[in-house]
Subunit: 583 residues, 2 copies
């Protein structure tokens, strides 16, 4: 037997017991005739002493130990003379009576400590060593416990976890599929699922009215920072429900998880329409930890002679409380910020509401004090505040002001990672127009149902059609999204046609689903949560990579495995494939 | 709200309540002025009455209903006059006050009943309808509950479920990988994992000492009946354990599951060495629900003048109790059975131990009564028994006799599907020799550790090296298998070299693992269970397909989706691929 206890559980209750521990050498400290070993496993650290006077052989052997050696020790639990109250095992130590080196270790390429000296690249290559570090370990364990809790919560509510296939059919719509050549079916390919969407809908047609799955999904996108080609989703679907039941069911799950893992009790989640979110925050995932809502000023600021405002589609601003004393330099920095290509504004107008009640603005030429006073009222601004105004094309200006608002929120420390502000964004548009291809795309996906009262607009004014679609946003991050689905063949066909599918294309790609709708499909809807992102939120980190045991880098590579890699010609030949560039 | 209750929960306690139900029309029976609807969902069936005298409008509408229509009814719970005690809702019926047709249904291509009139092919195509049928539904739900229970059991024992990647690196060893061309890394491919083997070992190196995962695996094999290109595994690994702890841990899980789902309390699982299993049953997965063990008879039957025995490497038989009265015809049938190419014997020798104590055999010419008496003793045969003997090459004869034994077990009804006989088969050989390539293969996989005392034989007598490998067999079906792994670089390299890898090949393919073993790898081992197979065992069916929501057929096709399928040239071009046959 390798161990009687783990390295995190012994305390004074075990005093004088004979125990066996196994683990890794975290540290060795030689103090005169005594060698102290910090022995580590995933449960904790236990101090071991090898005393020259008690057992010289063990003492000598212990001097050979290096960091990360795997050892087994037998010994007696003793009370420590100098206790460490920071760790659960800090009151005891093990006086070693046997010591065995199970496996040695080369010196690791970086230190296995809370704060390591290793850079990102080397830690990715030696991921198995990085995973030993406490900060990463805590995230992997938290993630594991989160998935266990989600499963148990949903199972207790009669949800069934049902597995859906990974080798499916490619659909050219939307993001790119990863494909898998089939050897048995020459010149044909499977695709890896971007989500189990159509399968969960078929399960609803089959009568499994409460489905969930924690499931891997795949998307062959050009990777942006913090995107992974494979990612994990909590995928859910219910039958005989309206939007209200779905929102309530998963708000319940979310509250439970916050309570369980972060000890945070959340009130009922507010709801906001997409339209409001865009108007008030310039984003469909607003960070509502702080207010600083947009104020639209067309009426007040246009046609007063300032050409920038006059020709703008939208003049809109935010009020930064207590910032009226910003210096020229600080204001220039904000102007530079909004002019960055990613933000995209042309310039920034400021209106200082000075402590003494006077105004100072970059548009003093065009607006008198009274006019500025009126504007300040619209902002609910007080003396000491700073109003920041952007103008231009509506969508672009909102987007830019969203960035500025988030920046101000950060500067003013209004985005505390320990504060959680959830929000349901509802009533998304059904379709969005792609300027490039002049085509309509489904904003959520082609299976999302339009609001009943808008269906008649599908042919005439598709941009006005609202969908039964909703996102869950927490602290400005989209954690989940879903919709009530179409469950009638006719409406689904109408939708495909609005998306530019010919009848034949629709049949070829989604014939099985259209067919299924003809045999008694129930009303249904669902939601999917980005589980990596959710785990990152609960871990208090920005990067999802820290919450994935073996992530890929920004080029989609696993640098530890060195994957992807070339395959041999025999494999290619069996698959009836050749590399185009080699022809 | 679509429903206040489901179709399986109402009973006399709800008498006179006003309820709303939604579901599928299972059946409609018109009896005079009354229309009876059987309303179905996954929870059960509830009878609904539409009474002409009470509400003629509803009565008329109900006449339009067909099978599988989706409807919503509102009504009052009434006590039935003629009760049905076979179903939980059998004492009540709902007197409809509102009826709404939510969705209609075409006539299904086969009946949605326990016993359907649909053939396999049509049911695969309309899988979403087949999944409505009770027998399939029960299996899908059982499987879901099994996975929930496994997760909760292992989580309660400090196991962590940790997700491992699906886009990994191809290794030419063993079964064929499915590969995934990478668009971002030109001319390179990912592979889909055949199992998370190396990742779970790395997790052990990382210190996550109790890991499990219910995970999809992929194998591009020529499909035999009842193999799927994608299958689900319960994958487990532990550190600081010996074989004994692993066997005990998972025997505990197994017993728990049998108790929970089948109400079967199993005794401690017997253990048998591979060598014994082969000698006594001719199989490494013996069906131990019945005894009928092999008796080897070289000493008694060889060199007595019967050339078939004399030139045989092995003469071996079984005793079929109570079968001495088998007719010529019955014996011929058994002879035909053993001569089938899949069984492969040359002929069958029988020895009848007649009720009157005399013997009658097909080898009376060569053996006298006393000799046959002596043989009967070896078989522990009694008057009335029938001994069946095969002779020839050792391995082939054992294999053939295994088939005959199973056949006799079936004929004699000794293989009751309600009886469960688990068995650990242990001490597998480390290597097996491939005649075709004249190479040694790992019997389990290249990471399995040899028994310490056999390591010295690796170079000189590899066939004699035993492994720390074990299988769990239930009723002749391999449910799981695993091993204690190698955790030292040197031994792993020795193993790769025994398997014919050059040092460079080993480094190229498994360098990350060899590297990991240099940084303090703990002793570890694990096991993996075929979850589809396990679900089939608990469902009492032979075919794993019945326990998979959306399985593929024997050509690896999903006939519902029509996948795999061709992809368009643009997709191919982006992947830098061309179809070889089209060049």
């Amino acid at each position: 037997m390798y161990r009687t206890h783990n390295c995190g559980e012994l305390n004074l209750n075990n005093k004088d017991s004979k125990v066996t521990l196994s683990g890794w050498v975290q540290k060795v400290r030689l103090l005169g005739g005594m060698n102290f070993i910090d022995l580590r496993d995933r449960y904790g650290i236990t101090q071991v002493t090898c005393n020259q006077d008690i057992n010289n052989e063990i003492f000598e052997l212990s001097k050979q130990l290096g960091r990360e050696f795997v050892i087994q020790i037998e010994g007696i639990v003793k009370e420590r003379s100098s206790k460490n109250n920071n760790i659960p095992t800090g009151e005891i130590e093990i006086e070693a009576t046997h010591l065995k080196i199970i496996n040695s270790s080369k010196t690791p390429p970086f230190t296995i400590e809370e704060k390591t000296d290793g850079g990102e690249d080397i830690r990715m290559k030696y991921r198995y060593l990085d995973l030993r570090r406490k900060p990463l370990q805590e995230k992997i364990i938290l993630r594991s416990k989160m998935s266990a809790e989600i499963r148990s919560y949903l199972t207790n509510q009669d949800f069934l976890e049902i597995e859906t296939p990974f080798l499916i059919k490619s659909t050219p719509e939307g993001a790119r599929d990863f494909v898998v050549p089939s050897r048995m079916n020459e010149n044909e390919f499977y695709a890896l699922p971007q989500s189990p969407q159509t399968f969960k809908q078929l399960l609803m047609v089959s009568g499994y009215d409460k489905y969930f799955q924690i499931v891997r999904c795949f998307r062959d996108e050009d990777l942006r920072a913090d995107r992974q080609p494979e990612f994990t989703q909590l995928d859910c679907e219910m039958s005989f429900v309206d939007q209200e039941s779905i929102l309530n069911t998963f708000e319940g799950l979310m509250k439970h998880m916050f309570q369980k893992f972060l000890n945070v009790n959340l009130n009922d989640f507010p709801r906001m329409t997409y339209e409001d979110a865009m108007a008030k925050y310039g984003s469909d995932k607003p960070d509502t930890r702080f207010n600083m809502q947009f104020v639209e000023l067309n009426e007040q600021l246009k046609n007063k002679g300032f050409v920038v405002f006059d020709k703008a589609e939208l003049v809109v601003g935010i009020n930064a409380e207590g910032c009226s004393s910003y210096s020229r330099k600080q204001l220039d920095k904000l102007t530079d910020f909004v002019k960055k290509p990613q933000v995209g504004a042309q310039g920034l107008v400021y209106i200082k509401y000075n402590e003494d009640g006077t105004f100072k603005s970059s548009v003093d030429k065009f607006f008198n004090s009274e006019q500025l006073q009126e504007i300040a009222k619209l902002f609910n601004a007080k003396p000491g505040d700073l109003m920041l105004v952007l103008a231009g094309n509506k969508d672009k200006t909102r987007k830019a002001l969203n960035e500025l608002r988030l920046e101000m929120g950060s500067i003013l420390n209004l985005r505390d990672p320990k504060v959680f502000s959830p929000l349901w964004v509802i009533d998304f548009p059904l379709l969005e127009h792609d300027e490039e291809t002049d085509k309509w795309h489904a904003m959520h996906h082609p299976f999302t149902s339009p609001k009943k009262e808008d269906i008649h607009l599908l042919d005439t004014a598709p941009e006005q059609v609202k969908a039964n679609a909703y996102d869950l946003v927490v602290n400005g991050v989209e954690i989940g999204g879903g919709s009530i689905r179409i469950h009638e063949r006719e409406l689904q066909q109408k939708m495909f046609s609005a998306l530019g599918f010919t009848e034949q294309e629709a049949e070829e790609q989604f014939g099985f689903l259209l067919g299924a709708f003809e045999y008694g499909a129930p009303p249904h809807g669902g939601i999917a949560f980005g589980f990596d992102r959710w785990a990152a939120l609960f871990s208090g980190v920005e990067s999802i990579r820290d919450c994935i045991a073996f992530p890929k880098n920004n080029s989609g590579r696993d640098v530890m495995l060195n994957a992807p890699a070339s395959i041999n010609n025999e494999q290619l030949k069996e698959l009836n494939l050749s590399l185009a560039s080699e022809n």
